[in-house]
């Protein structure tokens, strides 16, 4: 079948079962967009390429499929970078396709030329510059394979515009054979045996569940393992949802912005079982100290994560689901009743003071109330900042994938476009984007995407007229010398929503929460609820 490179690209996406992509056209990607007109693939036009990458990420997180985003060369491609880097940090499978100036012009600094393979190299699992149209089918096949297997991540394909118009005899490969890429899934039996013995001999074990548990679809088996052997679980920010919030063994999020009981457990354990977590500084900054007192088991698909931030007593490389399944069968017994009792005491010390101020909404109470009204299939997507931590510690995530956030990179402006992707991927689920006034404004134009695609995304803005998280850092570490954290002249968000034709309201005290949430969730249309938050309100 003789077709153009652009048609081959579209055809290859179809053969990869891609049904939805996010993007923004431009001169160097025009042949692709032309070919797209003859395809059934849905395309969501975002308002900025960064939004397209974040939307692809949100889409991927709720569907489990590889997210796809498209942009033109030069600025289109560079705008994708933050989205690609965000996906890389959180191990989200994504294929980014960029247009490029024609092959013979590369390197001559022509209009809208940027070395995007060079620029994204540190943030990609892999990337390709297509130099021969005949390679295109193989490259697309490899890109989807690399993005979705092993430790997932973004892969970028840069396609010069003349490659898109070149003709090839299209045959899509069935298999890939990449010499340097053979991910290992099955955990080494010897290591699993050692772990089983360590757990059996442990008095105070604790599981630390990361995002890898969710991406490996190991949440259920891990929860069953915890239940069978009565092992308490703490989650990282990315691990929220891997075990239901409210589960008696779930102690909540650990780390600098986590809850007391979770951190107590981690600092008093004799056996820390890290599953699918990279021991990031915000979660386990004191891992070195923990390792002095406790044995550390590290289960991860990526060998490079083992021993990177903490020295591990027993490492095992492989798929979290398969390994936990093996452990489920091989652990002898584990007596943790005393340990669980002491943890119950710690849970009582979790801070739960809710400030009641007449002119402000308490964000913790608000999110807790919101959670009560959401069903199990609802999805909460956060921005980054105080809103993220309030949501992480107060949203009742009942299912894996129900809490979506930029964990590793901490990208402000992630929430709204990721919410677009989530709602596109799961149109029947309630999708609530929780943002602050600062982060919301970073991607505010994406409201246009919501409007154009009639996506019933619920937007909750926690407005304290501050860059609250930075303010908190300045308060605690810079002697209250507040620098550039004031957003007192914010626009009227309610009016902005109205300009887009969205329903919207503003509330400013706790007594308004109930009725406002009723209206917020009344139907499946967009609703923007702005809540006045006390600038003094802290994250933990």
């Amino acid at each position: 079948m003789k077709i153009t490179g652009a048609q081959a690209l579209v055809k290859a996406l179809e053969l990869e079962n891609v049904t939805t992509i996010f993007g923004y056209p431009g001169a160097a990607i025009c042949p692709f967009y032309d070919a797209l007109l003859d395809s059934d693939i849905n395309h969501t036009l975002t308002r900025n390429e960064q939004g397209a990458a974040h939307a692809a990420s949100g889409y991927s997180r709720v569907t489990g499929k590889t997210g796809v985003c498209v942009a033109t060369s030069g600025p289109g491609a560079t705008n994708l970078i933050t989205g690609i880097a965000t996906a890389y940090s959180d191990s989200i499978p994504m294929v980014a396709i960029t247009g490029q100036v024609s092959l013979d012009l590369i390197g001559r600094d022509v209009f809208q030329e940027a070395d995007i393979t060079g620029a994204t190299e540190p943030f990609c699992k892999h990337n390709y510059l297509v130099k021969n149209v005949k390679d295109l089918p193989r490259i697309v096949k490899e890109a989807f394979h690399i993005a979705s297997t092993g430790r997932p991540g973004p892969v970028l394909i840069d396609v010069p515009v003349d490659i898109q118009t070149d003709i090839l005899d299209f045959r899509y490969p069935n298999e890939v054979d990449i010499k340097g890429y053979k991910p290992n899934y099955k955990g080494h039996p010897q290591q699993i045996k050692k772990i089983a013995e360590a757990v059996s001999g442990s008095q105070r074990p604790v599981i630390c569940a990361g995002g890898g548990v969710i991406s490996a679809k190991a949440s259920e088996i891990m929860t069953r393992l915890a239940e069978k052997y009565q092992i308490p679980v703490v989650t990282t920010l990315m691990g929220i949802g891997s075990i239901p919030v409210g589960h008696p063994l779930n102690l909540g999020m650990l780390g600098s912005h986590g809850v007391y009981a979770a951190n107590y457990a981690v600092h008093n354990t004799d056996l820390l079982i890290i599953i699918g977590a990279r021991v990031g500084d915000r979660a386990l900054g004191t891992a070195g100290k923990i390792a002095e007192k406790a044995r550390i088991i590290h289960i991860d698909i990526d060998p490079a994560e083992i021993g990177k931030n903490v020295s591990t007593t027993i490492p095992v490389v492989g798929d979290a689901g398969l390994i936990v399944e093996d452990l489920y069968k091989s652990i002898q017994n584990c007596n943790t009743s005393q340990w669980l009792d002491s943890l119950q005491q710690a849970v009582k010390k979790n801070k739960v003071e809710l400030t009641e101020k007449s002119s402000y909404v308490n964000p913790k109470k608000l999110i807790a109330e919101l959670s009560k009204r959401l069903n199990d299939d609802a999805i909460v997507v956060t921005e980054v900042g105080q809103n993220q931590i309030w949501a992480a510690n107060n949203f009742i995530a009942r299912k894996p994938g129900s809490f979506i956030t930029s964990g590793g990179l901490g990208t402000m402006g992630y929430g709204l476009p990721a919410g677009i992707g989530a709602k596109t991927g799961k149109p029947d689920s309630t999708v609530v984007v929780i943002g602050g006034d600062g982060s919301f404004q970073m991607s505010m134009p994406e409201m246009g995407t919501i409007k154009q695609n009639r996506l019933g995304v619920k937007i909750l803005i926690l407005n304290n007229n501050r860059l609250g998280m930075v303010r908190e850092i300045q308060k605690n570490k810079y002697k209250k010398r507040y620098s550039q954290v004031f957003l007192d002249d914010n626009p009227d968000f309610v009016k902005i929503a109205e300009a887009y034709g969205f329903k919207s309201e503003r509330i400013s005290c706790n007594s308004q929460i109930d009725s406002a949430l009723d209206r917020f969730l009344a139907d499946d249309n967009v609703y923007l609820l702005e809540c006045s938050i006390d600038p003094e309100e802290e994250t933990v």
Partner: protein, 170 residues
């Protein structure tokens, strides 16, 4: 800090060198030297990378390199189990009065004179880094005009070899 030699098989494609070099710089690893050339299989190149660092660093370097899709195989070479060589070209000042002395030194080192002019000699030396440095030391008194040096290349002794396929030994 100790020096470690990594023998790395990579896909012979454009961009691989930049990926490897980029990885070293952004993760703060120090490359002592890097030499690259095609292997017996034209699709595969071999990089010999000498890394400065402790065991932790070398392990991290290997693991991070392994994550690059274009990297096929990595082996850390033990000094005692491998032969390593460097090549250097040294252009040294030579007058009629010093020329014979330089030639003598070159002979002692079993190096070669590869170019001669009225007031210079160019010496080719191959050997371990120490040997090259020793010759450089000896020639410095005459005034070295220029040195060009390759990175270290190394190969395992005996029956062991590293191939792109699954073969590891014999």
């Amino acid at each position: 800090m100790a020096k470690h030699t990594l023998s790395v098989l990579v896909e012979n494609r454009s961009g691989v060198l930049s990926r490897v070099a980029g990885l070293f710089s952004r993760r703060g690893f120090n490359i002592d030297s890097l030499a690259v050339g095609v292997t017996e299989n034209p699709e595969v190149s071999r990089m010999t990378i000498v890394v400065d660092g402790d065991e932790y660093t070398v392990e991290q370097v290997s693991k991070q390199l392994n994550k690059l899709i274009d990297i096929i195989k990595i082996r850390a070479l033990e000094n005692s189990e491998s032969v390593s060589r460097e090549l250097a070209l040294i252009k040294v000042n030579a007058t009629s009065s010093t020329r014979s002395e330089i030639v003598q030194i070159v002979e002692i080192f079993r190096a070669k004179i590869v170019d001669v002019s009225k007031n210079t000699l160019t010496v080719e030396i191959s050997g371990s880094g120490d040997k090259v440095r020793a010759l450089e030391d000896m020639l410095r008194q005459f005034g070295i005009k220029e040195i060009v040096r390759t990175g270290t290349i190394a190969i395992e002794r005996g029956n062991k070899y590293i191939k792109a396929g699954s073969t590891e030994e014999i």
